[in-house]
Symmetry: C2
Subunit: 131 residues, 2 copies
């Protein structure tokens, strides 16, 4: 099964521009082409795109994703590096979750204040609470 760039864009919810950009930046290795030059995406290419999206979701910059992909291309000798990278990412994501949970507490706090403000009438509360 193979797809055109437009189909992939729809499937992955990206623009065709973005997909070309990712290829140009070396984030999707070896997309094959028809004789006439059109890109043909295989499921393996979609897997790469999913990986990019996944790492991007952890706020990993594209150049670091690129580094990882270069390691992959380099072959088995980079397996330890790649493993290290995922371990580090794991740490980072765990921290991000912790941070977001702290932020959520803060936001809930604000929500409660505003709820009270609205219920009790705004002027009854100290200004600073509304910040």
């Amino acid at each position: 099964m193979s797809y055109t760039i437009g189909e992939v864009a729809k499937k992955m919810n990206l623009s065709v521009h973005t997909i070309r950009y990712y290829e140009k930046e070396g984030l999707i290795p070896s997309i094959s082409r028809t004789k006439s030059g059109l890109r043909t995406f295989e499921d393996a290419d979609l897997e790469w795109i999913k990986l990019i999206e996944c790492l991007k979701a952890t706020n990993m910059p594209l150049k670091d994703i690129k580094t990882y992909i270069d390691w992959y291309i380099e072959g088995d000798s980079t397996i330890p590096k790649r493993y290290e990278m995922f371990l580090k990412r794991k740490q980072i994501v765990e921290n991000q979750i912790k941070e977001l949970q702290k932020t959520l507490t803060f936001i809930n706090f604000k929500c409660n204040y505003y709820e009270n403000a609205i219920k009790n009438g705004s002027t009854k509360m100290k200004e600073k609470l509304y910040k």
Copy 2:
């Protein structure tokens, strides 16, 4: 207690440039100045900076943070809007946490594969697993 911009930068782990930039963009309302024009930060200003950092941590763009601050300045009539905003943020953060948890599962999966790859010797496993 009041602080210079340099002290605030250290305290908040931001550059002085960034703090001036935030002020210029209207993210920190009414920082007072000495006669000679130097900024003097009060604890209330630090609270604003903390709020900015907090909202930024949720991937909120600065221009949306600005909108919120404008509402604050506008006064009590914007309290419902501000409340709505926090409710929306709450939703967003909850989703972000969910997404990150999915990502974490994926990363753990990768970690396991690489662990096995290293343990068993790389050539014994199918290439696709190392992606």
